[in-house]
Structures are given as C-alpha cells and as structure tokens.
C-alpha cells in the first residue's frame, strides 16, 4: 500500500515534468528556452541515492526524452552524467539543505548537461555525419554559451518547486521503512 503510493507519487511527479517540457508558459522562459524539468527531477532523485540509481534514472528518462524530441544524439548521456555527479555529491556531508544550495547544484548540473550535449554534437560534426546535426563547431559552442546560461538560470530558479515536495516525500517514506 505504502509502496504503491510511493510509486504513484514518484511516477506522477516524473509525468508532470514530462508534460511540462513542451510548454512555454509566459514568465517561465528566457530566449524561448524553458526550465529543464527533467534535469531538476534527476537531481532531486539522485541527491539522496546511490550512483547506480542515479545512472538508472538518467538512462530511463533520457530514453523517454529521446522519444519526445530527437534521439540523435541521445539525451541519456547528459542525464546519466547529471545522475552520477548528483549522487556523488553526498549532500548530507557537504551541502546544507536549503533553497540556495539546491539551486546552486541544479545550476552546476545544467552547465554539465549542456556541455555534454554540446560535446556530443561536436563529436558528430567532427567524425559523424555532419548532415545529422547540421551545425559547425563554432555554431555549436556559440549556441552552447547562449543556451547554457538561460537554461541554468531558469532551472535553478524552478528547482525548489520540484525538489522540496519530492525530498519531503521520499524522506518520509525512508523514515517509515
């Protein structure tokens, strides 16, 4: 019963993040870019979990996002990187739990995720078929600069909205077990 409820909350919150992806609600976008909801979810999931659980979340959600936008290059790479790093941070030891620290972690992770994506595109444009990505190296990194800042700012500002309810819930579930 309790496990079922836990699963519903976990999957439901993830579903909410997935359905928020195509939206661009006024006041929630910068340069046509919205917050990276899935990244926030992966960070929230991984911060209090093991590295393997972080990898699994990154992989699963990355595959889903591939289905929703484009699978080449895959989104799983950046989300796995985020999952691993967030799990390695070991929040209990180094970071206090407050708005600022969570926002900072998400900011950093957004930068990591965008850089991984830009690297994937670069590898494609150097060795893969350039027609698949259509960008030259200089275009990729100019776009990276523009996108990283907007995405990181927005994601970190919206991070507490996803992180705190989920963290509370999972904390309670852990206590009960």
């Amino acid at each position: 019963m309790r496990r079922g409820l836990d699963a519903i909350v976990t999957v439901g919150s993830l579903l909410l993040c997935l359905l928020l992806l195509p939206t661009r609600i006024p006041g929630m976008e910068l340069l046509g870019i919205g917050p990276n909801w899935l990244l926030i979810w992966v960070v929230a999931w991984s911060l209090n979990r093991t590295v393997w659980q972080g990898v699994l979340a990154g992989l699963t959600i990355g595959i889903v996002q591939d289905g929703m936008s484009s699978s080449h290059p895959t989104h799983a790479a950046s989300l796995i990187a985020v999952g691993v790093l967030a799990a390695r941070l070991q929040k209990q030891r180094y970071i206090q739990e407050d708005f600022i620290s969570v926002a900072l972690v998400v900011f950093g992770m957004s930068v990591v995720a965008e850089t991984v994506t830009a690297l994937q595109f670069s590898i494609d444009s150097l060795w893969g078929d350039a027609s698949g990505t259509g960008r030259s190296l200089s275009e990729i990194w100019t776009y990276h600069q523009r996108v990283t800042l907007a995405s990181a700012i927005l994601s970190s500002l919206w991070a507490p909205a996803i992180y705190f309810p989920l963290d509370r819930w999972w904390g309670k579930m852990n206590l009960l077990e």
């Binding site: 195509p22 939206t23 959600i61 591939d66 289905g67 929703m68 595109f121 027609s131 990505t133 259509g134």
Partner: protein
C-alpha cells in the same frame, strides 16, 4: 559449491530483487515511449492543453479573413497562370486542402526546434506534410500520433530547404540557426542578391512545394567560405505561432496511400542532400 552460489543468489535476490525488477520495468517502459516517439505523452499533453488553446474562434476568424483575401488575389493569379501554362503546355497543378492546426507546444529540448500541433493522424495529417503559417513556410511534419504531430521547423539547424531568390532566381539552400533568422548558402560563386530580396522554396526542392514564401534577405556575405551566404529573416512568426496550416506536399491523389509517401521519403532526402553538394 553449487549450493553456495544458489544461496548467495537468493540472498542477493531477497535484497535487490524488487529493485532489479523495477529497474528493468522502467527501462522497458522508457524504450516503449521512445519507440512510439512519445505518443502516449503527447496525447496526454494534447488532452491537458486543449482548454488553453488560444481563443480558436477569434484566431480562426482572423486567419480566415486574411486567407480569403489572399485566396481571392491568388485565384486571379492562378487563372492567369493556368492559361499561360496551357499555352506553354505544362502539366500538373496542385489541388490542396489545408488543415488548420493549433500549435500546442514547443520542442521538448532546446537543442532542437520543433513545435507540437494539436492535430494528428485522425485529422488526416501524415509524416512529410508541409506546415505553413500566415507569412510563409514553417516546417515539415516529422512524426504523428493520433491527435498530435511534431513539426521540424525550418529554423532547426538540421533542416535543409532548397530556396531561390525571387528577383534573380539565384539558387541555394537554407540552413536553420535556431532563431528567427536562417542562413542561405548559394550554389553560385557570384550570386545576384541584395538585401530586401524575397526568398521562396525552389522548384528543385523535393521536400517542399516550389514557390512557398520563406522570408527576405537581410544581409549578404559574398566572401563567406565555402560558399557565399545571405542572412534570411523568416517571414512566418515561428517564435510565437498559435495556428498553422498543414497540407500535403503533393496533390492528394498522389499521396493517398502511406506506402507511396514512405517509399518516396528516402530518395527525396538523398536527392536534397546530393543537391546541396553541387
């Protein structure tokens, strides 16, 4: 020894069994979502977004009024065109019935430029259909679900459109930049082009119907490498699109079955690619 390993496995299973099963289930579910291009999610999104569609009656009225005006002008032009074509002996005219579709979402990741339309297979939309808006070309449908479809915008860097300059017929192809401006690369070394020229799809393009307005030239860079370039401002309001028009690329009679369209898909892509190397 054997009994021991079974014991170890049982201990492991008791400890991690549920987690492993859940992990495998999650991966399988994710794989399914990817395989269907997120159909379940987009259908759900469409159902949720329906109440928020931008004032359809009013929008449609505005768009319809504009279209009626243009249609009247076009009818006159087409009649002239028709008679001229008959004189020249050309064949094949387009009989297209556009479908109105609301834009209900944007791309699910900001490295790609898509829009999500709130009409899908049930409304007769298919992969490869052309999407336009008041102003000009918007893009091409890249995948459809029952009630939604995903459009690859011409502003996406992976999008390639064969285009021509209206005044001088200089040919080239248009490459998206992720913004409302795109880059046109010319095939000629010294193209006849200047700021303000109109740009439309060329008759060599297989993916888009020829003569669809795309935008206007903003600036020209003749010494660009490897080919001369022009910055083109796209004329359709891609950044804040609310309604779009969808129509088949070919006359409906030719695209009546899925198989012919899919069979044509691959060679078309190749032709477009080969075309740009010339």
């Amino acid at each position: 020894m054997k009994g021991n390993s079974i014991y170890v496995f049982r201990r492991w299973w008791e400890r991690y069994g549920v987690q492993t099963v859940l992990a495998v289930l999650a991966l399988v579910a994710a794989g399914l979502v990817r395989h269907t291009n997120g159909a379940v999610l987009f259908e759900m999104y469409q159902a949720l977004a329906r109440p928020f569609e931008a004032n359809p009656a009013q929008q449609e009225q505005l768009v319809n009024a504009r279209i009626r005006e243009l249609e009247q002008r076009l009818a006159e032009q087409e009649r002239q065109n028709q008679s001229l074509k008959q004189l020249v002996g050309a064949v094949g005219d387009r009989d297209r019935q556009p479908i109105f579709a609301p834009a209900i979402g944007r791309s699910a990741h900001h490295w790609w430029n898509h829009i999500i339309l709130g009409r899908g297979r049930r409304d007769g939309l298919k992969k490869g259909y052309i999407v336009t808006a008041p102003g000009g070309l918007v893009g091409r449908i890249s995948s459809v679900t029952d009630r939604t479809s995903r459009v690859l915008l011409i502003s996406d860097p992976t999008s390639r459109v064969g285009v021509t300059i209206g005044r001088s017929r200089s040919m080239g192809f248009l490459r998206g930049q992720g913004t409302e401006r795109a880059v046109m690369e010319f095939f000629d070394k010294v193209p006849d082009v200047k700021a303000g020229d109109t740009v439309s799809t060329s008759s060599l393009s297989q993916l888009f119907p020829p003569g669809t307005p795309v935008g206007s030239v903003e600036s020209v860079k003749l010494n660009a490498s490897p080919a001369p370039e022009a910055t083109v401002k796209l004329s359709a309001p891609i950044g804040n699109l609310e309604w779009a028009l969808v129509e088949p690329n070919r006359p409906i009679s030719e695209t009546s079955s899925d198989t012919t369209l899919d069979a044509e898909e691959q060679p078309q892509e190749e032709r477009e690619d080969g075309f740009e190397e010339n």
